[in-house]
Symmetry: C2
């Protein structure tokens, strides 16, 4: 089967068992031309070394994951988070991509105030967004599924993410649309249109929804086609909203991580192709 | 400490280790005057026997949980679900309560169409709502947290529940407001006001949000006060919307189920009191 992968980007986390040179090599063999990277494995391999490796392989970097975690109330923790996000902006630029994905952070210990936490994110963005623009980087706020609201991300819907993003110019702040986090939300299609109209769809990611969810609900994101999400429908929404950029597949899945990484990458590319082929 | 339990109702599931006579006895000892019942333990003890036991103990039944699961496409499964819901209506009336909680059901096997599933619930309600009214019973659609959207309940927000309920008179169909399912939703306070204005808050339940979520995400509902939810805030919303009815505590929690049921009931009553005492 000929697989059209021109829009496909493999997020590094999907095949985290592959070290960077292996990932680059596997991409070359499979005709995958775009990757989404994560800060931790990049730092492990070395930032400059990663940039060189990627550049020499002629791979495009679609996003860097991730900045964020901006909800701390403690002044020291808050200053540390801002400093870390400035470094993330710099790393994004060094890697040759223009998009830094932001996961906002959960409630601080003991707090029950989602509203205040969301407002602290806006305050942090006011400091980070101009800094990002100076480095040619756009911040892409990713709403995470409401099941992460307390411990990982107080921004649970595209509407909330856009309410935050729209306080800033679109060249500074937009959103990440990830099917896994928004597929249940009947308001999401209209919010995708809103994001597109404002030029704020800065990243588009796919993962499928499968149950039962694992303990901790972090590492059960389904391989494309295995779950409840109609990928064609969601790709249709973002494209109707004017998005023509890369489509990253980002899976956190213990089952996939336990397998051979090259095999998982090949399967993911195949599933991507199948999901968008007219049946 | 004097505990004002006049609004408190213990949902049977919170202390499911107690058989019905034990539950009734414990309620009497603790001054708990209201219970929410579940169909399965009621059937196990016997419907008429339960009604008699409850009546003689002078307990009020605040809700029966639960009807619903109305999303099947298969005609046989659909007819069976409707018949089962008619029986649930009859059981509700026999137990002397006017409120049957509905959990809508998830996607049928292989389906990825949330919208169609939601529409089938409306079709089913058109058959069930007048039947319920004839028996003096109100249906209370419960939106469940979006993490249950595929396998348990395609109605994920109060807004969706009200969109369904408002197709029918409020005396036939309203909603269940449960903090566990809606606490993350910044639109929920406005939807509670909408529900109250329409006389559609038919039940109000509490559970707290604790993490990490357990595998399957069903039985990790936190004891009141242990989690991220500000119970005073949510009680404030429903009361500002005009609700003056019972407040059920409904916890699915393996840890609580492993303990002595009377002790858990006493603790739950105490937590209820503490949550609403001015600090």
């Amino acid at each position: 089967m000929t697989t059209d992968l021109s829009r496909f980007s493999i997020n590094q986390m999907t095949v985290k068992q592959l070290e960077l040179p292996q990932l680059v090599d596997a991409c070359g063999q499979l005709g995958v031309s775009q990757v989404g990277l994560w800060r931790e494995p990049v730092q492990r391999y070395g930032l400059e070394a990663t940039a060189k490796l990627i550049r020499e392989a002629d791979l495009a970097v679609t996003t860097l994951c991730r900045g964020g975690f901006l909800t701390a109330t403690d002044p020291g923790a808050r200053a540390a988070a801002l400093a870390d996000n400035r470094r993330a902006v710099e790393e994004t630029a060094t890697l040759g991509t223009d998009t830094l994905v932001l996961v906002s952070g959960g409630l601080p210990p003991g707090s029950k105030d989602l509203r205040a936490a969301r407002e602290r994110i806006a305050d942090a963005l006011a400091e980070l967004a101009p800094y990002a623009e100076d480095h040619g980087v756009r911040l892409a706020i990713e709403p995470l599924h409401p099941m992460y609201a307390s411990d990982r991300c107080v921004v649970s819907t595209l509407a909330q993410a856009l309410d935050l993003a729209e306080r800033f110019p679109a060249r500074q702040v937009g959103v990440t649309v990830d099917t896994y986090h928004i597929w249940w939300d009947d308001r999401a299609p209209a919010q995708i249109a809103r994001a597109g109209a404002g030029g704020r769809i800065h990243a588009f990611q796919l993962a499928d929804w499968t149950t039962p969810l694992p303990e901790g609900v972090l590492n059960g994101r389904g391989q494309i086609g295995d779950g409840a999400i109609d990928m064609r429908e969601w790709r249709g929404y973002v494209e109707a909203a004017g998005y023509t950029g890369p489509i990253e597949v980002e899976l956190f899945n213990e089952g996939l991580w336990a397998r051979d990484g090259r095999e998982v990458l090949a399967e993911t590319a195949e599933r991507f192709h199948s999901a968008f082929t007219v049946r």
